[in-house]
């Protein structure tokens, strides 16, 4: 038996029953980003310099490239989850809200793909 009113059901109001997985994914990606974020900053600090050669050398090592791909992908996912909550909380107009949610998702997916592809190109030695 559902406790939702028939009118509420027709209007699509109330819980969509998907909130828990969003909440959980945000925490799991947060925990992953604590480790990946620390790794990223420590790696930057231990680069021999900011030159092109040193960055390419760094991302050529298997460990760095795997972690860099993970960092880009997980950061994009976590950013999307977070921006979604912010947009849903502060944007009242339904149309603007939907437009912003879709725009965030598109921009982050495209950026994540560009970032992952860049790391892979370096890792596979496409970049001189």
């Amino acid at each position: 038996m559902s406790l939702r009113s028939p009118l509420g059901r027709v209007l699509g109001l109330g819980s969509a029953k998907g909130g828990a997985s969003h909440w959980y994914a945000q925490r799991v990606t947060a925990a992953a980003l604590v480790l990946l974020g620390l790794w990223f900053v420590v790696s930057l600090a231990s680069l021999p310099g900011a030159s092109h050669a040193s960055v390419v050398d760094w991302l050529r090592s298997p460990v760095s490239s795997v972690l860099a791909v993970l960092f880009v992908a997980v950061a994009a996912y976590h950013a999307n989850l977070g921006l979604q909550v912010v947009v849903e909380d502060y944007v009242a107009s339904k149309g603007t809200r939907l437009a912003l949610l879709v725009a965030c998702k598109f921009a982050l997916v495209v950026a994540a793909l560009i970032g992952v592809l860049a790391v892979l190109r370096i890792a596979f030695g496409v970049v001189a």
Partner: protein, 131 residues
């Protein structure tokens, strides 16, 4: 017509405290970091595009305006990371007592600024030369 006494919406009568400043800062820093994510991707894509594109990216990162954005990004990164860990402890059910939450809030805010300054100093000294 006289209005009946109605309960007010919480934001109309809650006292502003630094704990809710910390909370809203977590969101603001998160939004800033989302923008910085695009800078990270630009940096990686420039490295993958070759030395010339990479040199252009370094020039862009070295400009005063971008440096301000990067410093803001670094502050956001340190704060969001430390306060994020604080929130993960909350989610596990620890540190919710008023006293503990206030103390950890102060600790996180101070530690974030210190950490950001240290990382900025290290990165600037370390990477600045070659860039």
């Amino acid at each position: 017509m006289a209005q009946p006494e109605r309960p007010l919406s919480p934001f109309l009568h809650y006292r502003w405290q630094y704990t809710n400043t910390l909370s809203i800062l977590h969101r603001i820093s998160g939004v800033l970091l989302s923008f910085c994510f695009f800078l990270l991707v630009y940096w990686l894509a420039a490295a993958a595009a070759g030395p010339d594109a990479y040199a252009g990216a370094l020039r862009c990162f070295g400009s005063p305006l971008t440096q301000v954005v990067l410093l803001g990004g670094l502050l956001s990164f340190c704060y969001h990371l430390l306060n994020g860990v604080r929130h993960l402890f909350f989610d596990l059910g620890y540190g919710f007592e008023l006293k503990t939450a206030r103390k950890s809030g102060w600790a996180v805010a101070v530690a974030a600024v210190l950490l950001a300054l240290i990382v900025w100093f290290v990165l600037d000294r370390h990477l600045g030369r070659v860039a």
